[in-house]
Amino acid sequence: MQHLSPPDELFIRMDDCLERLLDRSRAVCVLLADVSGQLIVQRGKDTKLDTSALAAVTASNMAATEEMARQIGEPAPFSYLFHEGTRRSIYVSAVGETFLLVIIFDEMSQVGLVRIFARLAVSELLGVTAELEPWLEKAASVVDREFGGALADQLDKAFI
């Protein structure tokens, strides 16, 4: 029988990579998202963060910097961006053309440290994401008429 979802092994490798990055960089939180802002994996200590919104805003920010690079005549998009805050900072790195790695850190870490371990993680994640990519658009196998009907029912219940 044909497998309908990517092998668990891919996600285990992804989890391991992010866990290692979190530990080594002493970050507060690390996220892997796709460039349209969809959150894929998160690891971290701050459970109060709205990581879905953060992924959406970060992806848009990265897209905007890509446009900035184009506007100023850069031949390729910027590969990372960094915002330094008074309490927390954020470092975002492209993982190929489809994914983004987001690292939130505080005074327990330093940008140099984050940058070094982010680079290591990106090269490791590139291998995993290349294997994951073919699965990204495979929805037809899970969405059918029954799914659509159940969805309409759930939508009716979502509003108060």
């Binding site: 802002g37 959150l39 709205d50 848009s60 899970v142 969805l151």
Partner: protein
């Protein structure tokens, strides 16, 4: 569309598009207030001091699991002012469907037509076929004086088979119907 196989989630992106001040943000704000708080994320608005959308608004709506998958809808608006054309294109990236919020006022007819053209152009640039892309039309501000007849708006903006709704977004009239139609349309195309 993105299936997060790890979290068993299906993520879909719906973008509210339309001319400046047509009511895109108002749609999202109403949806936010009417959604069960357990099913929604924060409403993020990237606005200027003058309360105009400078980049986008965003909210996430999630439903219970269906066949083991949790559907999540990421709702975005684009800034309507003509100068933000690049931002609109960026927000459209990865969109699964568009709700076009038209301003029904007669003096906004040209703005509606121009913005619809820019939507079609942006869709083409992003590799979509504008004639086949999931689109829902909303004729907003139907409570105002000096509004264009629906037949005129339809002739200028709609093409065959596009679901259309009349609305007064400030009062919530037609807002949820539009959203449900867009979601059902997007899912039916998967």
């Amino acid at each position: 569309m993105f299936i997060n196989w790890k979290m068993r989630e299906i993520n879909l992106k719906v973008v509210y598009y339309g001319p400046a001040l047509s009511g895109k943000t108002t749609n999202l704000e109403y949806i936010y207030t009417r959604t069960n708080p357990d099913l929604r994320g924060e409403l993020i608005s990237l606005k200027t001091r003058g309360d105009r959308t400078v980049y986008f608004d965003f909210m996430q709506l999630e439903l219970g699991r269906i066949k083991g998958l949790k559907p999540k809808f990421n709702l975005y608006t684009v800034p309507g002012q003509p100068c933000y054309i690049a931002s609109r294109r960026l927000v459209l990236q990865g969109a699964d469907g568009v709700v076009y919020v038209a301003d029904s006022q007669l003096n906004r007819l040209k703005a509606n037509i121009d913005t619809m053209r820019s939507l079609q152009q942006n869709l083409l640039t992003l590799g979509f076929d504008p004639g086949d892309f999931p689109l829902v039309l909303q004729y907003n501000k139907r409570d105002l004086p000096s509004i264009a007849p629906i037949a005129l708006l339809r002739m200028q903006l709609a093409h065959d088979g596009v679901p259309q709704f009349q609305s007064v977004a400030t009062e919530g009239v037609g807002v949820l119907e539009t959203l449900k139609s867009a979601i059902n349309l997007v899912v039916s195309r998967l």
